[in-house]
C-alpha cells in the first residue's frame, strides 16, 4: 500500500511538471505532446481447487498472483489538426502455483513454484475528427520462464455521418514460443538444465469487427465478432494425462484451433442514478467447445462523483472433444487432456466496485482524478473458487 501511495505521489509530481494548457482563449490547440492520462492498476488474485492439469486432473490448483499495470497515455495534434495518441503500458505479474511445483512430483518447492511475467506494449493511433476516422497500430511483448510472445495489431475505425455509429476492424497476431518443459519423469536424456529446454511455436491470427450505435440519449449498444485461427503447439508440455492403464503421458491436443466468439453489449442510463451495463457472448470452436457468457453490472451514483457497482457474471461451457478425467483416456485416443479448464462446467462471478472521482481531485489533488476499488468472488462447478481485489488510480 505504501508503495502505491509513493508511486501516486511521484505521478502527481510528474503530471504537475508536464501540465500545460492545451487550448488558449482563441481555441488554438497545442501541438506539443502532453500527458492525457496515467493509470496504475494493481490486483491480488488467489484461487484453490483440486483438479490441477499438471497432475492429470487431480491435485491442488492453489495459486496466487500479484499483477501491476502502469499505463501512460500521451497525445498531440499535428499540422492537419489530427490527434495522435500514444499509449505505453508496462505490466508485471508475480505468481506462485502449487501445481506448477508438481512438474517434479518429488519437489517440495522447486524452481517452477513461482514465476514473474513481464508484458510491455505500445499503442499508437491517429484520429481525424473531421472525417470521423481513426487508424492505429500496436506492438506487444510478454515474457515468462516458459512462454514468450510477440504481438502486433492494426486497427481502423470509421464513424457514421451523424457520429452516432462507429465501425471498427482490427487484425491481431501473436507469434509465441512455448518452452517444452516436460513432467520430470517423462524427460529423456536426464534432467535438463533451464537453458537446455527446446522451444516450439504457437501462432495466433485474429480478425475482429465491431459496430457501436447510439440508440437514444440513454442507450448505446455494440456488436462484436472475432474469428481466431491458432496453429502450432497448443498443448502445454507439463500437463500430465493418466490413461486407464495407469500410464502417464504429456497432454496432446490438435495443432490448429478455429475460434468464433460473438458478443453484444448494451449500456443504459436509468433515471439519474443508475447505469445498467450488460454483455452477452456466444462462443464456438472446432474442438467442440461452446459457451455462453452473460454479465450485468449496475453502477449506482450515490453522488455525482461517488458510485458503487455490484456485478454478476454467469458462464457455461461444454467440454472439448478431447477432455477426459483422471485415468479415463485410453491408448485409442489420438488427442487427450485432463485440463479441467476445458471440461464442461458453469461458473458464477459476483462482487462490487466503488469509484470516487471528485471534481477537485482525490484528496484535493487536482491531478489525482479517480480512485476505484473492486472485489469479485468466483465459483466454478468443478469446485474451483477464486477471489480477486483490484485498485485503479487514475491521474489526469
Amino acid at each position: 500500500m505504501k508503495k502505491i501511495f509513493l508511486t501516486a505521489a511521484g505521478l502527481v509530481t510528474l503530471l504537475q511538471s508536464f501540465a500545460q494548457k492545451t487550448k488558449d482563449s482563441t481555441g488554438f490547440e497545442s501541438r506539443k505532446l502532453k500527458i492525457e492520462e496515467v493509470n496504475l492498476v494493481s490486483s491480488y488474485y488467489t484461487q484453490d481447487g483440486n483438479n490441477a492439469a499438471v497432475t492429470g486432473g487431480i491435485g491442488s490448483e492453489k495459486l496466487t498472483d500479484i499483477a501491476n499495470v502502469f499505463d501512460v497515455k500521451l497525445a498531440m495534434y499535428d499540422k492537419k489538426m489530427r490527434k495522435h495518441t500514444f499509449d505505453a503500458e508496462v505490466g508485471i505479474d508475480h505468481y506462485t502455483s502449487a501445481s506448477s511445483d508438481m512438474i517434479d512430483l518429488k519437489a517440495n518447492s522447486s524452481a517452477s513454484h513461482s514465476d514473474t511475467r513481464f508484458y510491455p506494449s505500445l499503442n499508437w493511433s491517429v484520429e481525424n475528427d473531421a472525417k470521423g476516422r481513426t487508424v492505429g497500430a500496436a506492438l506487444s511483448f510478454s515474457n515468462e520462464f516458459d512462454y514468450r510472445s510477440f504481438g502486433g495489431n492494426i486497427i481502423f475505425s470509421q464513424k457514421t455521418k451523424n457520429r452516432n455509429g462507429e465501425f471498427t476492424a482490427k487484425f491481431q497476431t501473436y507469434l509465441d514460443q512455448v518452452k517444452l518443459v516436460a513432467p520430470i519423469e517423462l524427460r529423456t536424456g536426464g534432467t535438463q538444465r533451464h537453458y537446455d529446454y527446446p522451444t516450439t511455436a504457437r501462432n495466433t491470427f485474429a480478425g475482429s469487427i465491431s459496430y457501436s450505435q447510439i440508440i437514444n440519449e440513454r442507450l448505446q449498444i455494440m456488436f462484436l465478432a472475432d474469428i481466431v485461427q491458432q496453429q502450432g503447439y497448443l498443448s502445454l508440455p507439463f500437463h500430465r494425462v493418466y490413461f486407464s492403464d495407469a500410464t502417464v503421458h504429456q497432454e496432446n491436443l490438435p495443432s490448429t484451433r478455429l475460434k468464433i466468439p460473438l458478443g453484444f453489449r448494451a449500456n443504459y442510463f436509468l433515471g439519474d442514478r443508475f447505469i445498467i451495463r450488460s454483455y452477452y457472448r456466444f462462443y464456438t470452436d472446432d474442438w467442440g467447445l461452446t459457451s455462453h457468457t452473460a454479465n450485468i453490472e449496475v453502477p449506482i451514483k450515490l453522488t455525482p462523483f461517488l458510485s458503487v457497482s455490484p456485478f454478476y457474471r454467469y458462464y457455461s461451457q461444454s467440454a472439448i472433444k478431447y477432455f477426459e478425467a483422471y485415468e479415463t483416456h485410453t491408448e485409442q485416443d489420438q488427442f487427450y487432456t485432463s485440463n479441467y479448464d476445458l471440461s464442461k462446467f458453469t461458473s458464477n462471478f459476483f462482487g462490487a466496485g466503488i469509484r470516487f472521482a471528485p471534481p477537485k481531485g482525490v484528496l484535493g489533488e487536482k491531478h489525482f482524478n479517480m480512485i476505484e476499488l473492486r472485489y469479485g468472488h468466483y465459483i466454478r462447478s468443478t469446485g474451483l473458487t477464486s477471489d480477486i481485489i483490484s485498485i485503479n488510480l487514475k491521474f489526469k
Binding site: 492498476v41 484461487q47 499483477a67 499495470v69 499505463d71 511475467r117 510478454s142 512462454y147 510472445s149 452516432n164 455509429g165 497476431t173 501473436y174 509465441d176 504457437r202 501462432n203 495466433t204 485474429a206 465491431s210 450505435q213 447510439i214 440508440i215 437514444n216 440519449e217 440513454r218 448505446q220 472475432d226 491458432q230 502445454l236 478455429l258 475460434k259 468464433i260 460473438l262 458478443g263 453484444f264 449500456n267 442510463f269 447505469i275 457472448r281 456466444f282 462462443y283 464456438t284 470452436d285 467442440g288 467447445l289 461452446t290 457468457t293 453502477p299 457497482s309 461451457q317 476445458l342 462471478f349 466496485g353 479517480m370 473492486r374 469479485g376 477464486s386 483490484s390 485503479n392 487514475k394
Partner: protein, 78 residues
C-alpha cells in the same frame, strides 16, 4: 472450411443480431445531448480495473474474445 455445427450456430446468432438491428429505430443524438452517454461508466469498452479479471477468465475458461480485448495467444492460456 468451417465445420457444420459452427455454421449452424453462427447462422442462429447472426439471425438474432440482424433481427435486433432491424427492430431498432435509432434517433440522431446531437453532441450536446450526450452528457449521459459520455459518463465514465457508460463506455462500451472494458474498464482498466477489469484487466486482471479478464486475464484470469481467459486462463480458467476455455473461451475468450469478442470483448475488444485479446481473443487468444500472448499467454499460456486457453
Amino acid at each position: 472450411m468451417i465445420p457444420q455445427k459452427i455454421k449452424k450456430n453462427l447462422i442462429i446468432m447472426l439471425s438474432i443480431i440482424t433481427t435486433s438491428l432491424l427492430a431498432y429505430s435509432c434517433t440522431t443524438v446531437k453532441e450536446y445531448q450526450k452528457n449521459r452517454l459520455n459518463d465514465g461508466e457508460m463506455g462500451l469498452s472494458n474498464r482498466k480495473i477489469e484487466k486482471t479479471e479478464l486475464s484470469f477468465q481467459a486462463y480458467r475458461e476455455g473461451s475468450s474474445g469478442a470483448n475488444a480485448g485479446k481473443s487468444g495467444g500472448g499467454c499460456g492460456c486457453n
